[in-house]
């Protein structure tokens, strides 16, 4: 019997020496562990492996190396089973077996040995007999020790399936993912791992290219979801992906990002609702989640199920429609959200409120979101407070205080009414010298010692506040008093508003901070404010100071009397100020708080004459004032529905505007920057540091700039209103400075989605602008060029002009007898025949009331030339230059000149020529007409060029603009047509015609499901044309696209259209068509 090691060494001598070394090492370690027979069996197994095939020695080497470690964990019997499994792998690939042996010691820490075959088998399943698959399988064994602690073997199968499926597409990708998997799994919570892999399998089978992204970003995305809902979300994504294929993974990403924006507690319900949609449409299910954040901004979470149900119903009848619904691209969807939503958005009601305020104030007041005022940087900083700067009313962008829409609207109404009332009842008309009705005079002959003297004041309000040393206190009191006056006026004048207003007043009262915490003076102001909200309310006030509070309340009550003016508010402010100012702002300790009401009407005449008030406290009452340490004074918290009140600033703005316009009663005094700056510094209405951070000087400068800018803008607006529409400045006022660059006006239109059978709400933005002015020459030249045609069309059109009156005969009543009828009648009567007594005629006036809009396609394709010039024909043989270069040169020059005069014509040129002819003809007939061009790119940017507007007079400007008609970009016809409809509707003419002149089918970026789809654009255009018809207009499409028949037939199903075969006949054809259309 040979010694085992020796025998084995001999056997191994055929292999590289490293194998022997491995064996020796292992043998040394094992000789004490195994019995000699076991040792022999062990060694023989190794030799068997090594001898199995060419490279199997490497596996054997791993086998030897792994053995000591393995035998620490396993009995020899188990060890042999392990070896057998490895042996089996050698059958497939020695490299695989090597990896198996190598990974085993660490992997088996996480597996029972009975699982080892299963584990090995999973690895083997990746091996497809190729080199790449072999290394992938080997990699499997390599990563196993890192994966297995995170994933039980049965779930490991999921990973293998996923990798296997990826390997079918790309081994590189599969290998990369496999490498990533330990890290990926680690990021996931244990229960989420299997669902993650399951969804991963779906991704790899539906969109394998996304797998890497999924591995990289998936765990992070899953984290957006509520921990307990993650598995559910993954399962949902998987179900959807199975249905929607490649879109599955992008949807997963977007949906999880959407979920991140939603409160986590809502995830469960969200997913439940989404799951309810999956059976009908996976897309809808995912779109539902994607849209949820937006929807939840407008709906309360409780309303979400109703929204989902509404969508599901639509989904049931039309999947496309339902999907558009959940994509928020459907008008029905908008309507439903609007109906479910209780909040009110300013955007939707601003026009209504504007007219309401206009009615109330009788001035052209504008209504904007408060944000727009803060953006101007002229002193207002609160984006959610209603306010006014004298010409416009600013309101918060949304109101959602209450659960009912009507109530929220009522809030807006109270806001708007209060601000409108400030304008209506003259809060800003304060005049320093004018006496009030109730109190004597706001003016103070003797300024408070220490206060500015106010002689230099720019505005009356400034002058008034200058009289107070504590400007802030004065401002606070004035605000309370004036708001009381306004509220009282509103309640008196507008009985209908009382209820919602009282409700807001009550709500405001509930939110007040407790009085007990405030120092006395501040508490007095606070109490005054409370009394201003409800005059009957019980006030909380220390017993010993009742008398102190009594007088202010009496004064405040007086301001509620009929006939109170803003000057009365001023006077009341003065009295109150003097009274309250004497009260030290100290903490009240051990006060005996009790209830008090404002005193019943005592007839005490509050006389605020120069001698009446005087300084300090009135003589009649010397209150027992509390003592203590003076506390800093804080203004009371603002009242929401009253909003910001900045009378000083408003007066300043108004003054600046008036001065700039040279109006106002005072001779214009140029305000100096210093004056403004001074005002700015002392006014309590402007807080520069709140407006912007940084250097005070810089901020002040910026504020002044903004202020002047605001004034300038107001001036320009006023100027434009006088001139008429912007951009139509006629020649004679050109000297009034550089015209402003025209800001395109934006209009929003829905777009028809034929798949969803619904409109996409406010989908397209049409930007209306005037074409710039070009050369007038062009127009004149065209006329000369086509002189004959012009004359001809004009003649034809003149015939169109109706006779003023047409005689209508055989009427029962009319202007006069129709003699023929009378004779006939007499004859019949004589013959005793039945006689007809319709013997009159009447001249009826025939009116021609036609408006027409021409819409020219200015898409890039109109750039195409239609008549190629003859190739430079050499001088005809008849020409003989006699080799005289001068003759040739002059010929050549002539030819060049001619060419430049008549360049090759493009489609757009013919459109223009046709337009010229038509305009010329239309001028003779007197129809209202407009000429427009359109182009653009994408739904946000549909350019609508005005060449001649409906109500614009034909002028040189129009001629010049026509010259600038040139090819631009795409053709999104729908919105352009809709805008034309709007234009036509505005004319109010009886007969309205819309002529669309194009060179091809509608197409634009995003005008269809993808680049090649034509259906969508055609359907939308068709719907736009149908809308025109519904409005009683006659649409007509004219195209020069020879292939036009096929789509025009569909687009203009039962409407007029024509394909102009011979393009060059267009200028001749268009007027003819026009006559036909209008007759």
């Amino acid at each position: 019997m040979t010694d085992t090691p020796e025998r084995v060494r001999e056997a191994l001598a055929a292999f590289p020496p490293s194998l022997q070394q491995e064996f020796d090492g292992a043998h040394a370690a094992l000789s004490d562990v195994l019995s000699p027979p076991e040792l022999r069996a062990w060694a023989d197994d190794g030799v068997d492996i090594a001898r199995h095939s060419l490279r199997s020695w490497e596996a054997a080497s791993e086998y030897f190396r792994a053995s000591p470690g393995m035998l620490e964990q396993l009995t020899f019997g188990r060890f042999q089973e392990w070896t057998k499994t490895g042996h089996g792998l050698v059958e497939s690939s020695p490299a695989l077996a090597g990896a198996y042996f190598r990974a085993s010691p660490s992997a088996l820490k996480y597996l029972s040995v009975t699982q080892a075959p299963d584990w090995a088998e999973q690895g083997r399943s990746l091996y497809k007999g190729t080199w790449k698959s072999g290394s992938l399988a080997a990699q499997y064994f390599e990563v196993s020790p890192a994966v297995l602690p995170q994933l039980p073997l049965n779930q490991m199968r999921l990973l293998v399936e996923l990798i296997d499926s990826l390997a079918g597409h790309s081994y590189e990708l599969a290998s990369a993912c496999l490498n990533m998997s330990p890290g990926v799994l680690e990021q996931l919570d244990r229960p989420d791992r299997a669902p993650f892999l399951e969804f991963g399998s779906v991704v790899s089978s539906t969109a394998w290219v996304d797998a890497r992204v999924f591995f990289e970003r998936g765990p992070g995305l899953v984290r957006h979801v509520h921990p307990q809902q993650r598995a559910r979300f993954l399962a949902l994504s998987g179900r959807v992906a199975l249905g929607v294929g490649r879109l599955g993974h992008p949807y997963f990403m977007e949906a999880s990002q959407a979920l991140a924006e939603i409160d986590r507690d809502g995830h469960r319900e969200m997913l439940e609702l989404s799951e309810g949609l999956v059976p009908t449409s996976g897309i809808a299910a995912m779109e539902f989640i994607k849209s949820a954040p937006e929807v939840l901004r407008r709906l309360r979470p409780e309303d979400l199920p109703r929204w989902q149900a509404a969508g599901r119903e639509i989904l049931g009848s039309s999947p496309e429609g339902g999907e558009a619904f959940f994509r928020l691209e459907s008008s029905k969807g908008e309507d439903i959200i609007e109906a479910l939503s209780s909040r009110v958005e300013l955007e939707r009601v601003s026009e209504l409120i504007r007219m309401y305020c206009k009615a109330l104030t009788g001035t052209d007041v504008a209504v904007h979101s408060a944000e727009t005022l803060t953006e101007k940087g002229v002193g207002w900083v609160d984006e959610s407070s209603p306010t006014t700067e004298g010409t416009a009313i600013y309101l918060p962008p949304i109101v959602e205080q209450y659960l009912e829409k009507d109530e929220n609207f009522a809030v807006y109404k109270v806001f708007a009414t209060h601000q409108a009332a400030r304008l209506e009842f003259g809060s800003f008309a304060f005049d320093y010298a004018r006496p009030g009705h109730l109190f004597q005079r706001a003016a103070r002959d003797d300024a408070e010692p220490g206060a500015a003297d106010g002689a230099e004041a720019i505005t009356a309000m400034e002058h008034f506040f200058d009289g107070f040393e504590d400007r802030r206190l004065a401002h606070d009191i004035f605000t309370i008093v004036e708001d009381t006056r306004i509220d009282t006026m509103v309640k008196r004048e507008y009985a209908g508003i009382r209820r919602p207003m009282s409700r807001l007043q009550e709500a405001a009262l509930e939110r007040r901070r407790p009085l007990e915490e405030m120092p006395v003076r501040q508490a007095m102001i606070e109490n005054l404010l409370r009394a201003s909200l409800d005059e009957t309310m019980q006030l909380h006030w220390p017993q010993e100071l009742h008398e102190l509070m009594q007088r202010p309340l009496t004064i405040l009550r007086r301001i509620r009397d009929t006939g109170a003016t803003v000057e009365d508010s001023g006077a009341a402010t003065r009295v109150l100020y003097d009274w309250i100012r004497q009260v030290p702002n100290v903490e009240l300790e051990d006060a005996d708080w009790s209830e008090m009401t404002a005193p019943a009407d005592d007839e005490e005449m509050i006389d605020v004459g120069p001698q009446g008030g005087g300084e300090g406290a009135p003589e009649s009452y010397q209150p027992n004032l509390p003592h203590g340490e003076e506390q800093p004074y804080e203004s009371p918290d603002p009242i929401d529905f009253r909003g910001d009140f900045k009378p000083e600033l408003v007066q300043l703005l108004m003054k600046l505007k008036n001065q700039q316009m040279g109006e106002g009663d005072t001779p214009p005094v140029q305000l100096t920057k210093e004056q403004l700056q001074e005002l700015l510094e002392k006014s309590t209405e402007i807080n520069i540091t709140e407006m912007s951070e940084g250097d005070l000087d810089e901020s002040t400068g910026m504020f002044l700039d903004n202020l002047m800018k605001e004034v300038e803008q107001a001036l320009q607006q006023a100027a434009q209103q006088q001139q008429g529409k912007p951009g139509e400045g006629s020649d004679d006022d050109e000297d009034s400075g550089e015209p402003l660059p025209e800001v395109p006006e934006s209009f929003y239109y829905d777009e028809w989605d034929f798949r969803a059978s619904d409109y996409k709400p406010r989908w397209c933005r049409v930007q209306e602008m005037h074409l710039e002015h070009g050369d007038r020459e062009y127009y004149e030249r065209t006329l000369t060029e086509h002189a004959q045609l012009v004359a001809e069309t004009r003649r034809q059109f003149e015939q169109l002009k109706p006779e003023m009156f047409r005689k209508i005969k055989r009427l029962p009543d009319g202007d006069d007898y129709d003699l023929d009828a009378v004779i006939e009648w007499i004859v019949e009567r004589k013959a005793h025949a039945a006689s007809e007594t319709k013997l009159y005629y009447r001249r009826n006036k025939v009116e021609r009331d036609v408006a027409v809009a021409f819409l020219l396609d200015m898409s890039a394709s109109t750039d195409e030339e239609i008549t190629k010039h003859q190739p430079n024909s050499a001088p005809a043989s008849g020409d003989n230059f006699d080799d005289d270069p001068r003759k040739y040169l002059s010929w050549w020059a002539q030819k060049r000149a001619q060419e430049s005069r008549n360049p090759a014509k493009r489609i757009i040129d013919l459109e223009k020529e046709a337009a010229v002819l038509l305009m010329e003809a239309l001028e003779t007939i007197g129809d209202t007409y407009g000429v427009y061009g359109f182009s653009g790119y994408g739904r946000d940017n549909v350019e609508f060029y005005v060449i001649k507007d409906m109500d614009e007079q034909f002028s040189d400007g129009v001629k010049e603009r026509l010259d600038k008609v040139s090819p631009v970009r795409s053709t999104r016809m729908g919105p352009a047509i809709r805008h034309c409809i709007y234009k036509l509707r505005e004319t109010g003419a009886k007969v309205k015609i819309l002529v669309l002149l194009s060179d091809g089918r509608p197409q634009d970026h995003g005008y269809g499901r993808d680049r090649t789809e034509k259906e969508y654009a055609i359907h939308d255009t068709k719907m736009a044309l149908t809308e025109a018809r519904r409005e009683g207009m006659t649409p007509f499409c004219l195209t020069v696209d020879r292939a036009g028949h096929d789509y025009l037939k569909q687009m203009c199903e039962d409407m007029g259209y024509e394909v102009v075969g011979d393009i060059e006949s267009l200028p001749r054809r268009l007027p003819t068509l026009y006559r036909r259309l209008t007759q």
Binding site: L352, Y356, K358, G496, Y817, T837
Partner: protein, 298 residues
């Protein structure tokens, strides 16, 4: 133009067109000096043009004046002239429409049996009777009517009856009054200068709040508080003129609203149907008006 049936007792009242006169004093509150102006114009045979928005009391004013201007009345009946006692002026009102022609005003031949009979038109009858002829919304009528208006309104005071080759001298007391609403007529339908300059022009506008309230209270029977609120509301709505609204809420509409309220319709509803919906079909403008209404009425 049938003549009143003689001898039959009718359930309805009917008058010859030139015999119609107000039996009771029409209610009219003068806003300014229009009464004196009109009286002086009538006395000096100067035709009058009344300008102003609809429903502000132009027609009522003419009725009021007709009632207060006195003279002996002659009425042509069955070819004979009947002299009646001195009384107020008859008033012939013609609402002009776009198909109103000169022959509608002057008269025409009608067939009767196998003969033609001339029938005077309302203007002819007013000229003969010496009545006030009030052509309401005169610009609406066809242009050929100016042919009649011109000779009647200058010193001649003559009505040419073309078909009968007659010239008719207007009787004392005859006064042509036309009304015209500059607000909503388009530029096309402006009065020609040659026509305009034959009239003195009295401008009407909605009365001030207190006056209007008094009128509404009188006409509809609502109390002054409600009437004041109605007038206030109208004032606000009139601010919306030129704003989707071609005309402001007329006093007439306020009276309607008041009458409905008297019958127990809630103020908001009454104003909605008689003001908001009556004024416009534009939903947005209606909403705005309704908001004004709901602010003023509880």
């Amino acid at each position: 133009m049938t003549s009143a049936a003689d001898g039959t007792v009718a359930q309805y009242q009917s008058w010859e067109v030139e015999e119609f006169r107000a039996l009771e004093e029409p209610y009219y509150v003068p806003v300014s000096d229009e009464v004196e102006l009109f009286r002086s114009a009538w006395e000096s045979k100067v035709p009058v043009l009344l300008k102003g928005p609809t429903g502000c009391g132009k027609t009522r004013f003419v009725e009021y004046m007709a009632y207060h201007l006195n003279r002996p009345t002659f009425v042509e009946r069955d070819g004979e002239q009947v002299i009646e006692e001195e009384s107020n002026l008859p008033l012939v009102t013609v609402a002009c429409h776009e198909d109103l022609t000169a022959s509608d005003l002057v008269g025409r031949y009608l067939l009767e049996g196998e003969e033609t009979v001339w029938i005077d038109g309302p203007l002819t009858r007013a000229v003969k009777a010496g009545a006030i002829c009030y052509l309401d919304e005169v610009v609406e009528a066809r242009k050929d009517t100016t042919v009649l208006i011109h000779p009647l309104t200058d010193h001649r005071r003559i009505l040419p009856i073309e078909k009968k080759s007659q010239l008719l001298q207007a009787r004392d007391g005859f006064l042509l009054v036309i009304s015209f609403n500059p607000g909503y007529q388009s530029a096309l339908k402006d009065l020609k200068q040659s026509t305009r300059q034959r009239f003195i022009s009295i401008e009407f506008d909605y009365p001030p709040r207190e006056t209007e309230a008094a009128i509404v209270a009188h006409e509809s029977g609502v109390d002054m508080d409600v009437a004041t609120n109605l007038a206030k509301m109208a004032e606000k709505v009139r601010n919306l003129r030129e704003h989707g609204l071609s005309e402001g809420a007329s006093t007439r509409l306020l009276i309607y609203a008041g009458k409905l309220m008297q019958r127990g319709i809630t103020p908001r509803r009454a104003c909605q149907v008689s003001v908001a919906w009556a004024l416009t079909d534009d939903r947005d403008v209606q909403r705005s008006i309704e908001e004004v209404i709901s602010s003023i009425f509880e």
